[in-house]
Amino acid sequence: MFEKTGVASREMVMTKFPSMERINKGPVAVVECYQRIPCNPCQTACPAGAIQIGNDINDIPRRDETRCTGCGLCVAKCPGLAVMIVDGSKSADTVEFRIPYEFLPLPEAGEMVVGLDRAGQPICEARVVRVMNPPSFDRTPVVTLEVDRRYLYDFRNFRKEA
């Protein structure tokens, strides 16, 4: 189905998530790259050497959950906007996501927005924690959102309330 719709299945998504133990420890990258294409900026961007592609630039990036510090430098660098950061260390009921968002208007901290799944369907409420848009992100702002933990594997995007 993925090749017909662009929407990854739950099983595929699960293969990219780190262990729950790691998520609860603090921020960590989820690299949702499923297809062999010639691309390696995530590896180049990672200061911890936690994302490895190897000699063949077409290989799928592998993220080492023990080395990844969740710094998020790869988020704005990935040309496919395929990387997000998840952080389950903040509370038992919620999880924080950091996702790239290249649209205007940008939301503001504290704002409630509609959480969307990988097919762009509304699934939950989300609270905007922070919006980062420094020059080094080169016009790919990264938005931190707090979401109910039940949506850990479904949440992937948001839209502002109409």
């Binding site: 062999r36 900026p41 063949d56 630039i57 990988r118």
Partner: protein, 360 residues
Amino acid sequence: MREVELLVIGSGPAGLCAAISAASSGAKVLVLERNFKPGGQLIKQTHMFFGSESQYASHRGVDIADILLSKIKAYGDQIEIMLNATAVGFYEDNVVTVLRDEKEYFKIKARSILCATGAYEKSLAFPNNDLPGIYGAGAVQTLMNVYGIRPGDRVLMVGAGNIGVIVSYQLLQAGIQVVAVLDAAPRIGAYLVHASKLARMGVPILTSHTVKEAIGTDCLEAAVVCEVDGKFQPIPGTEKRYDVDVMCISVGLSPLNELLAMRGVEMKYVPQLSGYVPMRTESCETSIPGIFVAGDASGIEEASSAMAEGYLAGLCAAAGLGHVPTDFEQRKQTYLKQLEDLRSGPVGDRIRAGMKISQL
């Protein structure tokens, strides 16, 4: 008649990289560009490019144009870019005829010529496909990203290859609604990360779908789409109507290289490279010595490959003129390795097959 050492036709990613590469070896280069701005299609690409650092991955196309143009500027009068200048003829004595500003017509004779003329968008046949409001996807990119003008309010994108999917995303960024992206193929042709970006914005991607007809009197008002079977035949009863004022056609590109055919270089129809292409050596030299080709004019690929090929062709064209840098062999191998890497994955299968057939 003006005489130049190396004439590069086209200032897109391949042409600019070829000029830089040849100039760095010591050649004097004249670049012809038919548009009033250099950069080819780069100037309308707002997304970050794939590839590796050597092809400026992670930079936006529009910024890559600026990077390359500033490199060119550093070569001073060693590289000249002539704008509004269309190469319209290419003759046996290596004379290229040029139409400038739609009125001046003159000849340029070059010792070596590198054709980096790019590609053109294919069209699609269906009733009323000529209605205003139906555009090539590249044209919509130009309107939006070069001039800042909205093509309309509601868009149907036909074609789920990289261009179709990327332009759809760019339409959303400009605040324009995309009702659906369709493709007759059973699978999405675009890089799936691009498709996922669009899917999670709520834009449905409909594979095995085609346009049945466009509806409208003076302008597009609606489009009827339907499903197709495994043989691309419409399935009756599956029609769906979308009320749209814009339809973008993004069903692939064809190499634009009539100048080379006119000059008489050996051409071959290679479906894997999307059309007639010149036969060429590993060094991008055609069947006529001193005539080179790079980028989409030699077969449709990504811009990252066009840049690597431009660097390779420029290096080899300069060498043919006697400008052989001490590290020639090393540079050549580097570019060849970059191309091999870019083409080595599954999306490169088609390209590799095409390269084999078109190799001299």
